[in-house]
Amino acid sequence: MRLEAKQVGFRYQGVTPWILKDVDFVLESGQRIALVGPSGCGKSTLAKLLAGYLEPAEGQILLDGKPLPKKEYCPAQMIGQHPEQAVNPRWKLKKTLTECWSPDEDLLAAMGIEDEWLKRWPSELSGGELQRFCIARVLGPATKFLVCDEISTMLDVITQAQIWKLVLRIAKERQLGLVVVTHNMALAEKVCDQIVALPDINKR
C-alpha cells in the first residue's frame, strides 16, 4: 500500500500564514521515513494530516489513490507525544487497550505491559507506561501505516530502546509503513531507512 500527500497545503482557518504548502510526501508499505526539522516547521501538522486528524486546505492525502476513510478504521494511525491526553481518564486501561482490537498476551508481554496495569486508571500510571498502551492499541491487524509523532521523547533511554525494538519488529513482520517525527537524529538514523527534512519539501 502507499500513503501519499499530494501537493498538500495547510493553514488554520481564514487568512493565517501557510504552515504547509505544496508538500509532496510518499510512504510505501514497509518503508520507514524519519521526518525532521526545527520546531514549528510543521512536522506534527503533516503527521496529523497523514493520519486524518486534520483536513488539508489544499491538495489531498491519498491511500492507494483513494482518500482516507472517514467512517471506518483508518489504516494510518497516529501515536502522539502526550499519552495522558490520548487515553480517556475515566476508563480503566483494559478498556482503552481493547477499544478497537484485543492484543494478545505475547504482545503485551513484549511491550512490557503488566497485567496489573490493566485494572488501573490512567492517573495511576506514568507517561511512559501509558505510551505503551497507546502504541499497543493501534497495532491491530487493520493498521497499515504508523505515524509516530515524538512517541519516545518522554521515555528514559532504556524504555525508548525497548519500545522502538518492538515497533520495528512488528513493522517488519507486518510490512507496516512508518513515519517517525523526531528531533533526535541518532534515533532517526537508527530506526529509519530514509530521512526527510521537512523544510526541504515545504514550499511555504
Binding site: Y73, C74, Q77, M78, A86, N88, R90, D115, K119
Partner: protein
C-alpha cells in the same frame, strides 16, 4: 489526611488481582469510598423520609387547636405550638416536604434546560453558542431574587407561581458547566483517536462523552436543590410564595418573626434549623457524589 494516607498505603500494598477485590480494611475502619456511600445514603434517606412523611401526612396533625396556643417544646409537641395552637413539628415537616418537592421540580426542569442548552451550545458552536451564552449572561446578570419575584408575581403567586419561578431560573450556571465539559471532551485527543479507530458517533457519545458530562451534570443537579429550596423559602418569606394556609418553611419563619420579640423563640429556631440541615445535607450529598464520581478520588 490520615485516612487518605492509609488508603494510599493500602493500594500500594495490594498487588495483582488483589487490586480489584475489596480493599483490605484494617479493623473496623472503613475506606473512604464506603464512608462516602454511607453519608450519601443516610442524608438521602433522611430527606426522602421527610418528603414522604409530608406527602402522606394527615392534615389534622398540624390542624388548628386554640386550647394549645404557644406551648413550649415538650414531648407531645417537640417543636412547640404557634399562635393558633398548630403543632410546629408536623408543620415544619410538611413545610420542608413542600420545599423538597419544589426543589425536585426545579432541579428537574432547570437541569433539563441546562443539559439541552449546554450540549447544543457545545455541539453546534457558532451562532447557537453565542445566543445561548448571551441568554446565560443575561440571566446571571439579573439579581436572582428579583427575577424570582417578577416571575412569581407574573404567574399570580401561590404554589404555581413559586414553582415556576424557581424551576425556570436555576439553569444558567449548570448550562455553563455542561457546555464547558462537553466542549472539553469533544476536542479531547482520545475522542478524535476513537473516531480514527472507526468508532461511530453514537459509540463515541455513549462511551466517551456521556460518561464525562454525566458526573458534572449529576452533581450540578444535586447542588441545585439547596438553591431551589432556599429561594422557595425566601419567596414565601417575602409573601410572594405559598399562601398563609399552606405550611411552608418560609411562611413559618415570616410568621415567627412577629412573635420573636415576645420571646417565642421556638417558632423560628426549629423550623429554621430543619431548613438549614436539609440544605446542608443536599450540599453534602453533592460534594460526596463529586468525590465518588471523580476517577482521581473514586478509588480511595
Amino acid at each position: 489526611m490520615r485516612e487518605q494516607a492509609s488508603a494510599v498505603k493500602e493500594r500500594g500494598a495490594a498487588t495483582g488481582s488483589d487490586l480489584m477485590k475489596e480493599p483490605r480494611t484494617l479493623g473496623p475502619r472503613m475506606n473512604t469510598k464506603k464512608k462516602l456511600i454511607l453519608y450519601v445514603s443516610l442524608a438521602g434517606g433522611y430527606l426522602l423520609a421527610v418528603m414522604i412523611a409530608g406527602l402522606f401526612m394527615e392534615p389534622e396533625l398540624y390542624g388548628v387547636n386554640y386550647e394549645n396556643k404557644f406551648l413550649l417544646p415538650s414531648l407531645a409537641h417537640p417543636f412547640g405550638t404557634d399562635f393558633m395552637g398548630r403543632d410546629m413539628f408536623w408543620r415544619s415537616v410538611k413545610g420542608l416536604s413542600n420545599s423538597i418537592l419544589i426543589g425536585l421540580a426545579a432541579s428537574a426542569v432547570s437541569s433539563i434546560i441546562a443539559l439541552i442548552f449546554g450540549i447544543l451550545s457545545a455541539a453546534a458552536g457558532g451562532k447557537t453558542d453565542r445566543v445561548i451564552n448571551w441568554c446565560v449572561d443575561c440571566c446571571m446578570g439579573l439579581p436572582h431574587i428579583v427575577l424570582l419575584l417578577l416571575i412569581s408575581y407574573m404567574m399570580g403567586g401561590g404554589g404555581l407561581g413559586v414553582s415556576v419561578a424557581v424551576a425556570v431560573t436555576h439553569w444558567p450556571e449548570l448550562t455553563r458547566l455542561v457546555r464547558a465539559e462537553a466542549l472539553q471532551v469533544k476536542n479531547a485527543q482520545y475522542v478524535k483517536a476513537a473516531y480514527k479507530m472507526g468508532r461511530s458517533p453514537f459509540q463515541v457519545a455513549k462511551e466517551h462523552i456521556v460518561p464525562h458530562v454525566l458526573p458534572v451534570y449529576l452533581v450540578g443537579l444535586v447542588l441545585l436543590f439547596p438553591h431551589a429550596i432556599m429561594h422557595e423559602a425566601a419567596l414565601t418569606f417575602l409573601g410572594f410564595g405559598f399562601p398563609a394556609g399552606v405550611p411552608a418553611i418560609g411562611g413559618i419563619l415570616s410568621e415567627a418573626m412577629e412573635h420573636i420579640v415576645t420571646g417565642k423563640w421556638w417558632l423560628c429556631l426549629f423550623p429554621g434549623l430543619m431548613l438549614l440541615i436539609a440544605v446542608m445535607l443536599f450540599d453534602l450529598i453533592g460534594d460526596k457524589l463529586k468525590m465518588l464520581l471523580n476517577p482521581g478520588s473514586g478509588n480511595e
